[in-house]
Symmetry: C2
Subunit: 241 residues, 2 copies
């Protein structure tokens, strides 16, 4: 059995019952070292295999091999395992290599949901997720999605907004959205949601300071109805009150 | 204190630690009767105020009034409180009425995440949420979003896909997407995720049977790369394997 577990953004409070149970039942825990560290409370008595960043294929292959040998393996992912996590790659490898492994995906709280709760209620209407990392996706595809989402007035959650080698992507995304997003459109940023170094702030589209955003950040850009009140970001659902 | 709690799709397994703790700490639990029933294990010793469907404003007003009187109130929502849930309406009312109430939003697993885990890994790339209910949103806005999302090749999660009075909305949505979604595009449906009557199936864009979908269903339409393998719906993240 191979459980691909979304551990949520980082705090134990945001883990599901199912994720904790799956970790407790596992013989071996595999994951990127930051994530295995976040769940060390549950893995003290277990074998833990940590791999570095960008070693996703290697990491998944190790987990699949161990599971095929009969071990109960837990692959830990931050947020939800099925949203920019390892569930897809695991299933792709198992399928393509015709491996005899039972895979279970255990849901977790993804960064947009955790960040929205900290910012107020910005995701109360139709929204989308766009990753600004072009490591695995052509930038032209990303641009097309940014423009479509802005045109159709979605609330937009930017994953991987800014990191070394991609310093300009978030500013470029804002430039692309400019024809459709008013200067006063609220923007919320949450850094390291649910972790010790958590920070959050709200600003507006025209006042956005890109330099404060890093790879642990999630950026939410409101729709035409989103407003700020007492420091909270609220997107109305449409009730007449 | 007013905690607006996302209880996840229905099973205890998918509740977070924080949601359970917030329920346990509450004096009074308020919610739509289906949702208060789902958490009755945690509320046996508490006052529970149940309201019917479409009584959202009334329900939120009751919770705010009680919290302002000093009670520790838990408002329960299915899925995540901030995604088509009550967090937004609560914050709107508190803000507009200048009420003296501390509001905390407690994150939950929303239907798209729970359904994706059951279907495989369909949300591994950029996706969006669109509600097909036009009770609070003009249908023209919904149409615009469906077309934009299909054009830009997002994976699309349809909330409130079909219910009494809106029998034709999902078929209409598929009609609008036809120019951009190939006949073979995988589609996944999950009914009553995490509840006793849970059902799921995968099909393709051209084979979709709308009559099987109801208001407890979540429909996920893949992007150009999504494929079916052994009954699972997989959207590649882009790794070369």
């Amino acid at each position: 059995m191979l459980s691909v577990i979304g551990i949520g953004p980082g705090s134990e409070a945001m883990m599901t019952q199912e994720a904790i149970a799956a970790l407790q039942e596992a013989d071996i825990v595999v994951g990127y070292k930051t994530y295995t560290h976040l769940v060390k409370k549950w893995t003290a008595d277990k074998e833990v295999i940590k791999t570095g960043m960008c070693k996703e294929i290697e990491r998944c292959q190790i987990a699949i091999d161990l599971a095929e040998q009969g071990k109960n393996v837990a692959m830990v992912c931050s947020g939800d395992a099925g949203i920019y996590g390892m569930a897809g790659l695991i299933l792709e490898l198992v399928s393509k290599q015709r491996r005899n492994v039972q895979v279970r995906v255990v849901s977790g709280i993804t960064a947009s949901i955790a960040s929205a709760a900290l910012l107020g209620a910005p995701l109360m209407h139709d929204f989308c997720h766009i990753s600004l990392s072009d490591l695995l996706t052509p930038w032209t595809v990303i641009e097309k999605r940014i423009i479509a989402a802005a045109q159709a007035d979605f609330v937009i959650c930017f994953y991987n907004p800014r990191s070394r080698g991609r310093e300009g992507h978030l500013a470029k995304a804002f430039e692309l959205m400019t024809p459709w997003k008013a200067e006063t459109t609220p923007v919320g940023v949450v850094k390291a949601a649910g972790r010790k170094k958590q920070e959050k702030w709200v600003t507006t589209f025209s006042q956005m300071d890109f330099s404060q955003v890093d790879m642990t950040s999630l950026v939410i850009v409101g729709n035409q109805s989103t407003y700020l009140s007492d420091g909270l970001m609220i997107t109305p659902r449409g009730y007449v009150i």
